[in-house]
């Protein structure tokens, strides 16, 4: 028998929010497990993949975070959220030119929205804090 689980979007939202809360509270293993679970339930969505990237970023593993963001962009090339986070990861990997490209892409895709705003704030940070190279 072929079982298909298709949970409602509201339930996935609750799971993702729990993942974000765990991540921000420092429960990175729990956050990763939740995002992995949501990725299994919604394999076509880029959102849990970006969540996994943010967990790797929080661990200080920027290269791993970048891989997740690139995977997210494979699923949705127009994801402003993924572009903003990829720009952030590039910034911490000291790839300023690449960071600017992705941050500007996020701003273009979501002008005035929360993802474009995040990208704008990161651009400001680039100008204020010395990240090297």
């Amino acid at each position: 028998m072929n079982w298909t689980i298709d949970p409602p979007a509201e339930e996935l939202e609750v799971l993702l929010e729990a993942g974000i809360l765990y991540r921000d509270a420092g429960g990175l293993d729990h956050a990763r497990d939740i995002f992995l679970g949501v990725r299994s339930l919604a394999p076509s969505s880029e959102i849990p993949e970006v969540g996994l990237g943010t967990v790797a970023f929080q661990r200080g593993n920027f290269a791993e975070a970048k891989k997740h963001y690139l995977r997210a962009l494979q699923r949705n090339p127009d994801s402003a959220w993924a572009h903003a986070h990829l720009g952030e990861a590039e910034l911490f990997l000291r790839n300023k030119p690449e960071a600017r490209v992705h941050l500007m892409t996020a701003q273009r895709l979501d002008p005035g929205g929360p993802f474009g705003h995040m990208a704008q704030d990161l651009m400001t940070l680039v100008d204020v804090v010395e990240f090297g190279s």
Binding site: H117, D127, V128, V129, F131
Partner: protein, 111 residues
């Protein structure tokens, strides 16, 4: 407390709050800035590893110890560095807030 003692206190991992306060009141606040840079760097790293270090080093490394500069010039330099720190904190704070807002918005758009 002399500047030398203040710096020694700042570099000692087990410094006390009193030492920090005394250091902060020293004529040259280099020691306090080093301590503050370390503390703020640690806090910043909780949210974004690397960011805290960047800001922390900006603070602790910002003091001008060039003996050739006059006192007024040193205070001007100190003021400029403080303004830069303030801008860095504002920028980092804005990023943390917008990151959270973006996360929440992405979740709401989950399909």
């Amino acid at each position: 407390m002399s500047v030398t003692n203040a710096l020694t206190a700042a570099y000692t991992p087990n410094y006390s709050i009193d030492q920090i306060m005394q250091t902060a009141q020293a004529p040259k606040a280099a020691g306090f800035r080093r301590v503050l840079g370390g503390i703020v760097g640690g806090v910043g790293n909780i949210f974004a590893p690397g960011l805290g270090s960047a800001i922390g080093s900006m603070i602790s490394g910002g003091i001008n110890t060039n003996p050739g500069l006059g006192e007024a010039a040193q205070y001007l330099e100190l003021q400029r560095n403080m303004q830069n720190e303030s801008r860095a904190f504002e920028a980092a704070s804005a990023v943390l807030k917008s990151r959270h807002d973006a996360s929440m918005s992405a979740i709401r758009n989950m399909k």
